[in-house]
Amino acid sequence: MDAIIARDLTKTFHTIARRPGFVGGLKSLVAPARIAKTAVDGVSFSVREGELLALLGPNGAGKSTTIKMLTGILVPTSGEVRVAGLEPHRDRERNARTIGAVFGQRTQLWWDLPARDSLAILRDIFDVEAEEYRRRLAEFDDLLGLSEFWDSRIRHLSLGQRVRCDLAAALIHDPKIVFLDEPTIGMDVVVKEQVREFLRHQVEQRGRTVVLTTHDMTEVNRLAERIVLINHGRLFFDGSLTELRRQFGATWQVHVTLADAPADVAVPGLRVLRRDGPRVAFGPGDGATSTHEALRLIIERYAITDLAIEENDLEDVMREAYLHREQMTA
């Protein structure tokens, strides 16, 4: 079953261009120049029930805009959204009971209330039964360590503490589908790990569907089963982490030190990236060669005294993917 379906989702923002200077300002008043900016451009994908999907892309790619449409906050300019069978922006109230949302930089909690009071207010808004509420709160406390600070007012919480409260707030009504826009922003490594554990628990034990955006590749590595990449509002990859690596991560370097230094070094299928006396750096040639294969080829030809393999980590893979996309559009 698909929990979320997006078909040809498009959002165009219309803003009024401000011309510089006083005269420009007057002109803008009299004849405002409207600029159209397509933030999301024909994006289609679907998410199965109980799946965790990472929506990734560089700054300004359109991730938040996509999430805002999926949650029913923004009305799509065109295209279709179905979340648990509902059209979110047309059926906001019913939709609200099936989804939970955290926008990392923004809190939904009341600034002047202790965190626990804020959660109690949300319990009332979502009509959660007292007993269920107590049980869930205890579970969240267990996983997120909320009780350390939930008697403090929100304004006095650190960012990491605040976002943990926001996570609890978003799940207090037991939503089937959860949208998280940069939920781990500004957290230290320990808290990040705690939140990842929490999310894994929500997906694996509670069977929730999670759509997550993040710029933290460790997180993607640890959490995401599936990745959707967008850039300039367009989707350009939808698949698993392994596929992503295969498609964009085939860059590696094999550094060797040759026992004797021949004048010419060449290995068919590989490229010599750098040469410094006996030290040579090989990279993949035209065909997609694995490091394993490359090593065999090198050792067949040369005697080597030292060896190091450098494989790209996920950040490099991402950079490669984002750049690749830039070239495609250029």
């Binding site: 805002k68 923004l74 019913r94 600034w111 002047d112 202790p114 207010i121």
Partner: protein
């Protein structure tokens, strides 16, 4: 809407109780304002018996009640980062659209909570002022009844006006200027600054065709017996008309707002 959802009204009072300094501050400010207003109007009346058709105690009562009423004329939530403008500027308004209570309903419940909280202040202040002789009781039993109905309608008009200005934020993204102007107009034209009876005739004429007067001056004039009781039906009818007109306007604005909600960046 469920009963539990009405409990959201307690947000503001809870926040106030969490910070006793704010409560002390309000008490001190209110006491000082009432004291000064009583002194001012008593000294203004030291040479005359009647002015603008009001005797001294009527004028003092009007002015003191106007000060107390400030507590229910839209509580300033900016210190709690909880005004509509702040929610729109900071983007936190987007959470209003992912809750099973429509934004319009949420706004209403919060306003009811704020006003009930403010009303508690009014009641306490009124009781103290009445005991201390700073305000007179209502001119008559029927005046009290007319006042009660009129005050309720006044509150509805007040709510709609504040809401209309708040809703403007969805289009302008900044309504500081509009709010400042509206606050001043409201205070001037409704009788907070001085009882309207002291202003020239043309001013009264203008204020009669605007809604502001009906948020305060009308109920207070009924209370002190300055407006004849025979005038009550007409005044209440006008108030009711404003309620309906403004309710229509804000309803329309809400509908449009939900369509234009664009949350800045992020």
């Amino acid at each position: 809407m469920s009963v539990a959802q009405w409990r959201v009204a307690r947000v503001t009072p809870l926040g106030e109780f969490a910070q006793p300094a704010r409560i002390t501050g309000t008490a001190v400010r209110l006491a000082a304002q009432v004291f000064l207003v009583v002194c001012l109007w008593r000294s203004l009346y030291s040479q005359v018996e009647t002015s603008a058709g009001l005797v001294r105690d009527q004028a003092v009562t009007y002015a003191v009640l106007a000060v107390l009423a400030l507590q229910i004329r839209g509580l300033d939530r900016s210190a709690s980062r909880d005004t509509m403008l702040q929610h729109i500027q900071e983007g936190t308004v987007l959470y209003w659209f992912v809750r099973p209570i429509p934004p319009r309903r949420y706004y209403l419940v919060r306003a009811v909570g704020d006003q009930l909280y403010g009303f508690a202040w009014v009641l306490v202040g009124y009781t103290i002022c009445l005991t201390a002789g700073a305000v007179e009781p209502p001119a008559s039993g029927s005046a009290a009844a007319a006042f009660a109905v009129s005050a309720l309608l006044a509150q509805v008009i007040m709510y709609q006006l504040l809401l209309a200005v708040d809703l403007l934020c969805f289009w302008t993204l900044q309504n500081n200027a509009a709010l400042t102007i509206l606050r001043f107009l409201q205070n001037l034209l409704s009788g907070v600054i001085a009882p309207l009876w002291f202003f020239p005739d043309w001013f009264l004429t203008i204020s009669s065709v605007l809604p502001f007067r009906y948020t305060l001056d009308v109920p207070l004039s009924l209370y002190i017996g300055r407006s004849p009781l025979s005038d009550t039906p007409r005044l209440l009818a006008i108030q009711l008309l404003w309620c309906v007109l403004l309710a229509g306007l804000t309803r329309l604005m809400w509908r449009k707002a939900a369509g234009v909600v664009t949350v800045q960046g992020g």
